[in-house]
Amino acid sequence: MTVIATESLSKRYPRVTALDRLSMDIGPGVTGLVGANGAGKSTLIKILLGLSPATEGRAAVLGLDVATSGGEIRERVGYMPEHDCLPPDVSATEFVVHMARMSGLPPAAARERTADTLRHVGLYEERYRPIGGYSTGMKQRVKLAQALVHDPQLVFLDEPTNGLDPVGRDEMLALIRRVHTDFGISVLVTSHLLGELERTCDHVVVVDGGKLLRSSSTTDFTQTTTTLAVEVTDSDEHPDGTGALRKALHGLGVDTQDDGGGLPGAGHTVLLEAAGEETYDLVRDVVADLGLGLVRMEQRRHHIAEVFRTKDAESTEDETAETAADGAQGRAASERAAAWAANTAKTATTAAAEQTGGGSDAR
């Protein structure tokens, strides 16, 4: 199923070409639209909402043509603009109720959905106070709530992390993830930070100067290049725990590397390619057999930016839009790995605690 499809979509303003023959297919899930300032992200959203006609090409949202079915599209999607859009003198509840009615919800349903939605985005008692007194984080939540209140099938979130501090950013990203996983609503979210969409999105589309740079599933490449970083304690039996682990792994035919970062303690970190769950099991067993404490075992994901950089270098002209189908597979794999890592981490700390008799120095 395709949620958003564009075909040779162009938007030219008198002086700039905001979108240049953009063709892509986006499936359900969370899709990141990444690009620098002026890349054409907001322009694309306005075209997809049927608010601004394309100069050339076609686009469809939820199977509806943006040029002819704008009204129907806007009934089924939500939109969170990048700029401030909230009147300061009304409360979040009043505002969101009004916006729900603007989406066609009857008065009683509008009130009920508003209460639900504000709770889901994390606004409680403060929702009765005028918006003027809210923090940026709370305002972003109100903006998100008005985009979700009519239970759309798809939401366009234009730079939802704008102006948020690192904690607020993480909370917003987690919330966006939930919009898809818990609410079942597909998301198109824009950002100019490639990195921050890595963990949130199933699929990332990179645009630059109105051109499609790349469209691919995030887990595709973050998964295949996962590196495992392992740190162990020393024991009386093995004064050089790291060396022992390295040797034992070599004995089992697993290649390891030093942490070449030159950071303090780099010599105590063993890096190896994680092929799947077996690798995690293997490391845990080997460490246990050696009687060492497992200080740390974590995935080292490559930053999306790096991946794009290297891939772009390999194939600059490769502007193919992959389908989201392989993204789904990749995601499943990554979720498995993440769950596994969480489990292992628990085991690891327990193991470390046993080995060092207290584990106060185990991280």
Binding site: K46, L49, L51, S52, G70, G71, R74, E75, G78, Y79, P81, H83, D84, C85, L86, P87, P88, D89, V90, E94, H98, M99, R101, M102, S103, G104, L105, P106, A109, R113, D116, R119, H120, G122, Y124, Q146, H150, D151, D182, F183, G184
Partner: protein
Amino acid sequence: MPADSTQIHNIGYRHYDGPRLGRAYATRSLFSQSLRGAYGLGRSAKSKVLPMILFGVMCAPALIMVAVAVATKANDLPIDYTRYAIVLQAVISLYLAAQAPQTVSRDLRFQTVPLYFSRPIDRVDYVRAKFAALSSALFILTAAPLIVLYVGALLAKLDFADQTKGFAQGLVSVALLSVLFSGIALVISAVTPRRGFGIAAVIAVLTISYGAVSTVQAIAHEQGSSEAISWLGLFSPITLIDGLQTAFLGATSAFPGKEGPSAGAGVVYVVVVLALIAGSYAALLRRYRKAGL
């Protein structure tokens, strides 16, 4: 696993399967919200003060007149229905200056307009809802004292046919006035969204145009050019209404020397009034063509 706060509150997401009432309903909702807002209803107590005071000021003279008429058993009301709004035009201007910016400028200033247009309604619906809302609010303000006068006249047992005819003419006149004045005030407010500027601009346009027209009319009256007086009335909103009702709604003109337009010139008045209303509507649509995009 410890139950953290998000889990206590999280009872799961529920989808909405109920009706979606679409564009027409959304437009009506926007209309009623804006109309209520024009009297401060559904808003803070502070925003109710001015419109309610002005409503009181608008109706008070009518109540006094009615009381006097009933008490003295007068055989006519001291004022024509059609004249009432002309006499109290300052109150109308103040009301518009306060409420027209409130109706449209807030959405522009706080950039809420794109949120409306990201929903099923389009700019035509938006402009119609806002235009209709302010016109209705102004009609309530101007028709209420006429109702007071009419009810009082019937209580004072004045001639029923006479009073009913005058009342009906008065209602037509204030209806036209409401649409004309609202259109002008909305256009002014929509192009001056900054706080305070809209208020000043609406007051300025309504009072300066009236001041200029009546001054020039007075000079023309001194020089005895009665023809000029009736044409000069075309250049301010309130004199337009005055001229139109003098020609067609049995009103006595408030122009100097009561030199209102003849029926022939009255047609020009009607055309100008309708053109201004249509022009305001078109200008508003134009204003929102790019709003937020």
